[in-house]
């Protein structure tokens, strides 16, 4: 089945853009987060230009992305450790001498 991407008109940092994507809701949500990031930077860094604010916003988002990746790795490691403990627990129940 072919998913038809459609054109989505958005405004990022005061600039109108037409994007194409399969998940319009997700795209709009991401655009909203980028605009919020830029607006927050404009309030704290009033003397900076729009391209600079856009770069800082992109840097913050990338940093957040790596935080999410690290957290995901930690979660996967945690689940694996718990599964190993469960396996050992079941092994003991299976092999331990009966009273």
């Amino acid at each position: 089945m072919t998913i038809m991407s459609k054109a989505i008109r958005v405004n990022i940092g005061g600039k109108d853009l037409t994007l194409r994507g399969d998940n319009e809701e997700r795209i709009k949500k991401s655009v909203r987060e980028v605009n919020l990031q830029i607006q927050a930077l404009q309030q704290s860094l009033r003397e900076q230009s729009t391209p600079t604010l856009s770069l800082l916003a992109a840097l913050n988002i990338a940093e957040r992305y790596h935080d999410a990746l690290d957290q995901n790795s930690q979660d996967v490691r945690f689940v694996n450790e718990e599964l190993d403990k469960m396996t050992q627990y079941l092994e003991r129940a299976w092999r331990q001498p009966l009273p």
Binding site: E33, Q74, D75, M86, L90, W94, Q96, L98
Partner: protein
């Protein structure tokens, strides 16, 4: 659960809809899921242990049942062999009893058979009186036969009792003889001891007698010499020697009479 950075530690808290709150919610869901899985694992371990215990019990019961089955089979086989042996012995005993009864009752049975054959050979006459008479006669004969058998049995019992009494008398007599023999044996031992003592005494007296005889001979020779020498030597008086000799004779006679020595 892996540590997560607190919201205030994030470099920029600028995202919409509190992404850290979402991460914390996901973390809580993950922890809850892991805890539920732990509960399932613990219950599974309990089930495993329970199943292992039940399996061990069942294995022990199977072993016990197999052992009991073997023992029961051996006992059943033993019972079957004993039953077969008893059946064989019973059939042998029944054959012996039948043979013995035939031997005992052969004259009476032959007579009864003769009567029956005579009755069967007689022409059939549906006379109730005659049949009743025959039945009465047969009953009387059977009763007489039973009485005769009882008498024979009583006679046999009496004969056996007589034999038993005779055997008891014989046994008592033998017991008395045995007691007497034991008494004589005891007396014989005492007499043997007395005989040994008397023999010793006799040997001593005999030796004394021989010494006296030698002394007597020497005295006689000395007297014959004294006739020529006119020297009187001290010695045993003749009367004393005669008394000693008579005592020895009496003692010898007592010994001979005591042991029957001629």
């Amino acid at each position: 659960m892996g540590p997560r950075n607190l919201p205030q530690e994030q470099p920029q808290q600028l995202f919409e809809d509190a992404p850290d709150a979402q991460a914390q919610k996901a973390q809580a869901e993950l922890e809850a899921t892991v805890l539920r899985f732990w509960d399932t694992v613990r219950k599974s371990a309990d089930v495993i242990v329970t199943l292992r215990q039940e399996n061990a019990i069942l294995q022990a019961q199977v072993q016990s049942l197999r052992k009991s089955e073997t023992e029961l089979q051996s006992r059943v086989q033993d019972f079957l062999e004993r039953i077969a042996d008893l059946e064989t012995r019973m059939s042998t005993a029944q054959g012996s009893v039948v043979h013995h009864q035939e031997q005992i009752a052969s004259p009476a049975i032959a007579h009864e058979r003769q009567v029956v054959s005579n009755v069967e050979a007689a022409p059939y006459q549906p006379d109730n009186d005659e049949l009743n008479a025959r039945a009465h006669d047969a009953t009387e004969r059977a009763q007489e036969l039973m009485l005769a058998r009882e008498l024979e049995h009583e006679v046999e019992v009496r004969s056996l009792r007589k034999n038993i009494d005779r055997l008891e008398d014989e046994l008592n007599r033998l017991q008395n003889e045995l007691n007497e023999a034991q008494g004589q044996l005891t007396d014989h031992k005492v007499i043997s001891q007395q005989l040994a003592f008397v023999r010793t005494e006799l040997e001593a007296r005999t030796k004394l007698l021989q010494d006296l005889q030698i002394t007597l001979e020497e005295n006689r020779n000395q007297r014959q010499l004294d006739i020529f020498s006119s020297v009187v030597q001290p010695g045993m008086a003749p009367a004393e020697m005669v008394a000693l000799a008579s005592r020895l004779d009496v003692l010898s006679g007592r010994i001979s009479s005591l042991f029957g020595i001629s």
